[in-house]
């Protein structure tokens, strides 16, 4: 009997901090890295008698997200109170949305969206260890600066099929949100946070297995690794004939260990009820028009537009999904009249430039978009060989500058078609008579030493194809 093959079924819950000026329910400015408790007021401290005031821009951003994810927008939605005690929750409840969220079912790429709703973020709890100030041997300090930051929670259907798929789809989501301008979508700073609901089932089955919830993974890499580790853990459980327990889990990226977050306390009972301090949100045609007008070009549309420029689908997708690359590419195309063809420029950006800058924003690189475009053009016009062009790009990334000037200054330009190369090839054939004899005998592989000789002589400025052509001509092939 062959071992059962399992397939993962994964749903994602993504919390996105919205980039409004002020908090969800008060006028305190959002901050990152400011001194603790300097962005608070009676409302976000939950002082007695204070009342929440919903931020109109947060609703607007919620609508933009709903539209971008092709969601059904609820004509009327309401806020609920989610009741639980925790020091980072000043009112003893979180204002969130429950059974009447702002956005219903939608889709992004190959993953269906279940819902999108708005809520307020919790404050930051910093563990400070032993403290003489209170009896507790172990103390924490609450900083309410973050408390009340607007959040959009995006919940997907369980359409994600693997750890890689999760990472790829989240990249698309992040780009979409960045394009919308609704969030910094920075996982390091916590403006994008992801939980995953994970179950596995024998391939071909339709019934879902018991799921676990993997909490608060704070980078795309950890999400991928965390999901992979949890899927492996569940497979082992099932192969051992045991049952997966439904629970909340934590993935430690350093040790790859998965631990249960289940507390000793009773299961949560959030006692949701409609928030009586707020009135319903009803989406007016004005609000819809404003949101529609503010909707930028989204990755899917951008990819199509790039393909229409003649780009390969893969390249177009890479540029569209990683919007800063797309922006760089478009600036490059516009910047220089001597730019290479779109596909050539795109290749230089997606392959060579990315190889040099990694995940950094290319806009921050010393290599100006116009310079890279010009370099692609120079290669296309054979003014520089591809290999030497890579050296030029190194220079551009390190020091900036103009590719033509670098080629000039470093003597990296391709040999002009003026007979000079012919002489060098003749000399190379003479110096490598054995090789020349073999080539004449039909063994083209023997051309290596000849080309090597020419390249040494020309410091790489010769075009390899041209050298081959001359060799064949000289040997009468």
């Amino acid at each position: 009997m062959s071992p059962v093959e399992y397939e993962p079924v994964i749903g994602l819950e993504i919390h996105v901090q919205l980039k409004t000026k002020t908090k969800m329910f008060c006028g305190c400015e959002l901050s990152f890295g400011d001194p603790p408790n300097t962005h608070t007021c009676p409302r976000c401290l939950g002082l007695p008698g204070s009342l929440p005031l919903p931020n109109a821009r947060a609703i607007h951003y919620g609508l933009l997200i709903g539209m971008a994810l092709e969601c059904e927008l609820a004509p009327r939605s309401i806020f609920h109170r989610k009741n639980y005690f925790y020091p980072d929750l000043p009112k003893g409840y979180q204002i969130s949305q429950y059974d009447e969220p702002l956005c219903g079912p939608g889709r992004l790429g190959d993953v269906r969206i279940h819902r999108v709703h708005l809520e307020e973020d919790a404050a930051k709890l910093v563990h400070v260890g032993a403290s003489g100030r209170i009896h507790a041997s172990d103390a924490s300090v609450v900083d309410f600066n973050r408390g009340g930051t607007p959040l959009a929670e995006i919940v997907t259907e369980p359409d994600v099929t693997s750890a890689e798929h999760a990472r790829e789809w989240l990249t698309l989501l992040r780009t979409t949100l960045r394009q919308l301008g609704v969030s910094d979508v920075n996982m390091d700073e916590g403006s994008l946070r992801c939980d995953a609901n994970i179950s596995i089932r024998p391939k071909g089955e339709t019934q879902l297995g018991t799921k676990t919830e993997l909490k608060n993974m704070n980078s795309f890499r950890f999400i991928e690794r965390g999901i992979r580790a949890e899927v492996a853990r569940q497979e082992e459980i099932l192969r051992n004939g045991e049952q997966v327990v439904q629970e909340t889990l934590h993935f430690d990226p350093r040790t790859e260990a998965i631990t249960s977050l289940r507390s000793k306390e009773e299961a949560h009972d959030y006692r949701y009820f409609p928030e009586p301090d707020l009135v319903p949100v009803t989406i007016t045609s004005d609000m819809l028009d404003t949101a529609r007008a503010a909707l930028p070009e989204l990755p899917a549309a951008r990819q199509e537009r790039f393909e229409a420029l003649g780009l390969q689908p893969d390249t177009a997708r890479q540029l569209a999904w990683r919007s800063e690359l797309g922006d760089y590419f478009e600036t490059a195309l516009q910047a220089n009249g001597d730019a290479g063809s779109p596909q050539a420029v795109a290749n230089w950006v997606c392959n060579e430039l990315v190889a040099r800058i990694g995940d950094e924003d290319p806009a921050g690189s010393k290599a100006a978009p116009g310079a890279v475009a010009a370099l692609a053009g120079l290669v296309e016009r054979k003014a520089v060989t591809p290999n030497n062009a890579k050296l030029v790009l190194d220079k551009l990334v390190n020091d900036g500058g103009d590719p033509a000037q670098i080629i000039e200054a470093e003597g990296l330009g391709a040999l002009a078609d003026d007979g000079e190369l012919e002489g060098i090839v003749e000399a190379a054939l003479a110096a490598n008579a054995d090789a020349a004899e073999k080539i004449r005998g039909g063994n083209m592989k023997a051309i290596g030493p000849i080309i090597g000789h020419v390249m040494r002589e020309t410091k790489g400025r010769a075009d390899g194809g041209e050298v081959t052509r001359i060799v064949r001509e000289k040997l009468g092939l």
């Binding site: 009676p42 002082l47 204070s50 009342l51 929440p52 009741n83 301090d277 009135v279």
Partner: protein, 473 residues
Amino acid sequence: MPTDLTAVQAAEAVRAGELSATELFDAYRERAAADDLNAYTWVADAAPTEAPPADAPLAGVPVAIKDLFCTEGVPSQAGSRILEGYLPPYTATSVARLAAAGAPLLGKTNQDEFAMGSSNENSGYGPVLNPWDRTRVPGGSSGGSAAAVAGGSAPWALGTDTGGSIRQPAALTGIVGLKPTYGAISRYGMIAFASSLDQAGPLTRTVADSALMLRHLQGADTRDMTSVGLREEIVLPTAERLDGIKLGVPEELSGEGIEPGVRDAFERSLQLAEELGATVESCKLPHAPHALSAYYILAPAECSSNLARFDGVRYGQRVEADTLMDMYTRTRHDGFGPEVKRRIMLGTYALSSGYYDAYYGRAQRVRTKIAEDFAAAFERFDFVVTPTSPSVAFELGAKTDDPLSMYLNDFCTVPMSLAGIPAISIPNGLSDGLPTGLQLAAPAFAENKLLDAAHALEAALGFQRLDQRETVA
């Protein structure tokens, strides 16, 4: 004596130059400082250093404010030990509006803890005594405000009403108490009991005083998204007759459960109303008998959530403990009184998993039916009239061991709260030497009409308030 004047009269006297605002303030401040009813939890040290501007409509007439209104730098404890000594960093909109109109803060008045109670015996700062009979309760939860006005130590007072907390103490102390339409007055800075029911309002000597205060309290507030204000400016009432006015007397709120003496006084008033030209007919509010049940689900549910913020972290009292859980549970055990704990328990239970639909969900539907009942009644009648409280002031301690009998006290006032409609209680004559109240309820936003009718009845009733009696004596 300046303290003999109603608020309307005092404001006129100050504006006419016959009385100085400082003299008026000091006269009341002295009385408030000497108060022996336990009506105050804080009294101002001195008159405001700056006289009100000459055109200030309230002309410096001081106002007593229920403890649960936040007042910057002044203790605001909502009658609870958990907030002992709490000094808010901001002032409630309604208090600020009164101050801006020229009514400075005289003192903070005692109340049932977090406005939960009908006798003021649930205060963490001791019970308030009824100035008519110091062995009896003044009603609640705005008992301190009512006792201050009835006892003559304040010209008028601000209270809050969630299920009768202005109207019932006004009735039990022989003064006027108005609960406006829900949303008429900002709740910003009012320490919440039940958010969807809480409404601020005046406790005053006369209907005209209530109108004057309401004029300056009402209005939408950008700091409270549920505030809408009234649709027209409040004018001082002038009506003397009730010609053409149709009064509906709901069977469910005027028969069984009403003390005979209270019923007699009520019936005399109905007769008087007819003499003023009104027609009086009985009507039905079929769901009113279930109002109390709905109320004692909805209000505790909201309060269980509203009071979760009293956790010993950011303000108020804390009982130190080694674990967070113990810090929470002991802080809340020691900080809250028995009635508050009962309601938190009741509300938490009603919202908890498995019970929401049976309790909270049903209560919300009963609320719909009660509003529909009133809407139907107002198609036939201008006002619905009932006794405000089924009994006169009861003796201290009489009901403290029986929460349910205390709750049943609210059965005439709770239906209007659930429907969000305005209702006023005016003195309705005595029963066994103690005041009774007459309640008139009107459709939402009909405050001017309501005040006019109440004013006509008030004049015809000619009730002699305690402060008037004591002056005579």
